[in-house]
């Protein structure tokens, strides 16, 4: 099989995974207005739990330490990743969402992210510290007799199906009464509460669902690339997801897809193979982060709705099923 095809398939997998991250942050920020500056931490929780559950039991004397080591299959390990990411998200939400001020929320998420980063890095026994998990078995390779190349193609299918389901669910959530209530909280928390909406509960729901999306993306990431270390989920990575959502268009899942294609795939991949300038291997990644940051600020300044804006709610377009109601509405609106 041609290496270009495998490379393109790899990009498609990344694209699908970033879509999932985009949907997750969109549910948190685009739907409910939660400033989650530790989004990537929940990806890591999902990824680590998946990896530690999928790996065989740690070999004594190998100097590689991790908990669990259950040799679980893909669905079971994924489920554990989902539960873990959701639980950690609920814990952070419990502290952060009690207060109404959005800057407290941002501080708590940022601080929890830093804290979890330090704990996972320093507790070597947990997930092998700063070295991170390695050699996580690729799922389905044994059962379907896949080699390194066919695995990539097969994983396009796996991640694509999961991504499509999550996209469908996110869109359903957006249109549901629950999603509408979340958007009401986003627009004006006091008004929403005055109308009897429990803002804490609504934002908590959005927080946990978003974290579950992050956890699924994390599990898919580690299943695909077989390794995860703290260097791969620094605060800068959270920012890539923020940038893709806001440049694509917050509040619109299609915007998240467009953003993840432009920012996470096209821009990041296009700059990956640039030669190192002046013998400094860090210069290109540094410049890339600077450009992503500038792009985001410029977008917020001149096109805050993003490339694919959230559609304006047209209340009279809400379908009224009853024929009588439709006539009443028509009379009220048109005055006939």
């Amino acid at each position: 099989m041609s290496p270009i095809l495998v490379y393109l398939a790899t990009l498609v997998v990344y694209f699908f995974i970033y879509n999932i991250f985009g949907f997750g942050l969109n549910i948190q920020f685009g739907y409910a207005g939660i400033l989650d500056f530790a989004f990537i931490t929940f990806m890591a929780v999902g990824g680590y739990l998946y990896g530690a559950a999928a790996l065989p039991h740690e070999t004594p004397g190998s100097q590689i330490y991790y908990v669990l080591g259950l040799s679980w299959s893909f669905p079971l390990a994924l489920l554990l990743g989902i539960l873990g990411a959701g639980a950690v998200g609920a814990l952070v939400g419990l502290i952060a969402l009690k207060r109404l001020r959005s800057d407290y929320l941002a501080i708590v998420t940022l601080a929890s992210g830093t804290l979890i980063y330090g704990v996972i890095g320093n507790f070597t026994r947990l997930f092998d510290g700063w070295e991170g998990l390695m050699g996580v078995p690729q799922p389905f390779t044994g059962a379907l007799n896949l080699n390194a190349n066919t695995f990539v193609l097969f994983f396009v299918l796996v991640s694509g199906v999961i991504m499509a389901i999550l996209w469908f669910f996110a869109n359903r959530l957006y249109r549901s009464p629950l999603g509408r209530a979340m958007r009401a909280v986003r627009e004006d928390i006091d008004v929403a509460e005055a109308y009897g909406k429990n803002a804490f509960k609504l934002r908590m729901t959005a927080m946990v669902i978003g974290c579950i999306y992050a956890g699924i993306g994390g599990a898919l990431t580690i299943a695909f690339i077989t390794a995860l270390a703290p260097a791969g989920w620094s605060t800068g990575e959270t920012f890539v997801i923020w940038a893709l959502l806001l440049i694509g268009g917050r509040g619109n899942n299609l915007g998240a897809v467009v953003g993840s294609f432009l920012v996470a795939v096209l821009f990041t991949e296009a700059t990956r193979y640039l030669p190192a300038i002046g013998g400094n291997p860090n210069l290109i990644p540094d410049l890339r982060n600077i450009v992503i940051g500038v792009l985001l600020i410029v977008t917020l300044r001149f096109r805050p709705q993003g490339l694919v804006p959230e559609p304006k709610t047209n209340f009279f377009a809400v379908p009224l099923t009853s024929r009588v109601l439709r006539r009443v509405r028509h009379e009220e609106v048109v005055g006939a």
Binding site: G33, L35, F37, I95, K98, R99, R101, S102, D103, Y104, A106, I107, V108, L110, A111, S112, T114, L115, G118, V119, N122, T235, G236, F239, W242, A243, L246, N280, N282, L283, D286, L287, N289, I290, I292, G293, V294, L296, I297, L300, R301, P304
Partner: protein, 291 residues
């Protein structure tokens, strides 16, 4: 017992560094009413600029530090005018300003990393000799940090109570619209506040670098949420609250390090932050209408 006195002494040093940084953050928050997540980058800028001026450029340390502090202030003013003010003028949602400062921290961190590299740095001046003061033991550098921080706190107090600028800042902090119609030049006060905030961050960065001896471009960000803990404990936007919060957080983290190990000092700060947010979110000295 002696180890407790020793850690209490370290606590005073940490509290001094935190006081410098949290007063800078709190002053700016009081006047502009949004948190600057890029504040850690200004701390790092202070350390790295002083390093460049004193190591490769061979200036004496005091001169390097004295030049660095106003440069940090100017950078803060430029960042505010160019990046943040357009968003403030447009008004609307506070959320976007927070995202912008978050993005700004990433941009500044990466600029510094590109310019200075990823290695560790240290100043030419060391910690100095150990001095015994009663039960305490300080290095010369640590005594200088405490002295400078105390002097700056008195200076900030005088500025806020005795000068027109300080009174204008307090007025804007209480009610920006009322301050504007009372004839206060809010643009000038905002610029002065950012300058002051940048200067304090630069000074705090230099003090932090002196205390931890070896530092890197991310050292400022590492302290950032301890600063947040101090600011929120004191009462957000309250300058005297920030001083009090810095003292409490500094002493508690250092003394607790005796019992839980120094690797978990910042976790203790996080714990305090969580407890404050759950039990008394308005802080020790609440500001009206801000929490």
């Amino acid at each position: 017992m002696s180890i407790l006195w020793l850690s209490l002494g370290f606590g005073l040093v940490t509290a001094s560094i935190l006081a410098l940084s949290s007063v800078g953050l709190s002053l700016q928050f009081g006047v502009t009413n949004y948190i600057n997540f890029a504040y850690g980058a200004f701390l790092s800028l202070g350390m790295l600029l002083t390093w460049t001026l004193t190591r490769p450029l061979h200036l004496p340390f005091w001169l390097g530090a004295a030049l660095t502090i106003p440069i940090c202030g100017l950078v803060a003013v430029v960042v505010d005018r160019v990046v943040l003010e357009p968003f403030v003028r447009r008004g609307g949602n506070l959320l976007y300003l927070l995202i912008v400062t978050f993005g700004l921290s990433l941009i500044l961190d990466n600029i510094m990393q590109a310019a200075w590299g990823v290695g560790f740095f240290r100043f030419a001046v060391g910690q100095g000799a150990d001095l015994h003061l009663g039960p305490f033991q300080f290095t010369v550098a640590q005594l200088v940090i405490i002295g400078v921080a105390a002097a700056v706190m008195v200076g900030v107090h005088l500025l806020l109570t005795r000068t027109r600028l300080g009174k204008a800042m307090r007025a804007m902090s209480d009610n920006p619209a009322l301050a504007r119609v009372s004839g206060i030049d809010t643009k000038r006060v905002t610029m002065s506040t950012w300058f002051l905030s940048g200067c304090l961050a630069g000074a705090a960065g230099i003090a932090l670098a002196l205390n931890i001896v070896s530092f890197q471009t991310t050292s400022g960000d590492d302290l950032l949420f301890v600063v947040f803990a101090a600011v929120i404990l004191g009462g957000i936007g309250q300058t005297y609250g920030a001083m009090l919060g810095a003292l409490v957080i500094g002493v508690v983290t250092e003394v607790s390090a005796v019992y839980v190990g120094s690797a978990y000092k910042s976790d203790v700060a996080f714990l305090i932050l969580v407890v404050v947010l759950l039990v008394r979110p308005q802080g020790l000295i609440p500001a009206l209408g801000k929490a």
